[in-house]
Symmetry: C2
């Protein structure tokens, strides 16, 4: 063994994290060896704290550090509009836009028949329960614009439409600040299809 057992154990544990290869794990382990003990302990404690104190919100399945997540516990949010997303990180991204004042529902994945992810593996039952309980009027389907996200969106739309709800999806088109020349055909196709009259 190239390193001692203690050092190797840390390199192995770091190497299990997503996106951390053997070289990065080694680099981070040596970095931790060099930093002040209190800095390393703070990282170790932060890891333990997340496992002990962060749970999933029982209502929307966002991450929560109290009874409910900070969106569900905010009474100023509009409960009549629900945005369905795949992952809690999507909520963070959407919140940054400061455009949406409704609530969220996290599916924790997308339909993927090839990998055996069906409606039962996602938080879909809980979504349908919320619709009546919370008096939801509009559901925004905010799944990812890829194959799995699209399948999930179509599946949910077919279930939600008959319930008399307004069902919407996020607009597809050119990213702001992007370059038309570098946009792919599908995105350009969607941008043309969804073109809007200019108010001038």
């Amino acid at each position: 063994m190239a390193y001692g057992v203690v050092m190797q154990a840390l390199i192995d544990e770091l190497g299990r994290l997503p996106g951390i290869g053997p070289k990065s794990a080694q680099r981070i382990a040596f970095h931790l060896l060099k930093v002040a003990p209190e800095d390393a302990v703070r990282l170790a404690e932060a890891i333990v704290a997340v496992k002990e104190r962060v749970t999933l919100c029982p209502r929307c399945f966002n991450v929560a550090e109290g009874e409910l997540c900070n969106i569900c516990s905010d009474s100023r949010r509009d409960g009549s509009v629900l945005c369905v997303v795949e992952d809690p990180r999507d909520i963070v991204a959407l919140e940054k836009a400061q455009e949406f004042r409704g609530r969220y529902h996290v599916l924790h994945g997308a339909l993927n028949p090839i990998e055996g992810v069906g409606p039962g593996q996602l938080r879909m039952g809980e979504l349908f329960e919320r619709l009546d309980d919370e008096g939801v009027k509009e559901v925004i389907l905010g799944t990812n614009p890829n194959l799995e996200g699209e399948q999930t969106l179509m599946y949910l739309a077919r279930q939600l439409k008959p319930l008399g709800l307004k069902v919407t999806r996020l607009a597809s088109g050119l990213p702001v600040g992007g370059d038309l020349e570098y946009a792919d055909e599908l995105t350009l196709g969607r941008a043309l299809e969804g073109r809007r009259e200019v108010d001038a």
Copy 2:
């Protein structure tokens, strides 16, 4: 704040690690949130263990988990040949070659006048003390083949030569398995300069 304080604290701590940007920190934090509690605790404990149990070898300044590092405490190693390297990771790389049976000395850096790294900031004094104490006959200068490493090598060579020691350096040339077409001019120049007669 997009996340709760506990989650944000972990993302911040992870983001301080080398090579981990904000997106990776977020991804790792969510990964840790999902894994079994014992897996997360094992990582936290490994970090603490490294700070508590891994030190620098007082002889060669390699990482050590006992009194001396595992190379200095191995009596079968040849104490008359010393290989000087910049970093403990270089020892791991050289040991993998299974070619060297001597001992090492880790400088913990290279001379870099622009960033204020002089001989006093490196473990150079300790190197000269070892030469007499351990009866060293050859010093292999194994610094990195870049500007700082080369400066350090020349500085040490000028100090070591007058002491009547054999002073050598690692060979420069084409990497094994590499493609001549893609080698840079400097490497090709060194490969030509260091050409050897073929035993056939």
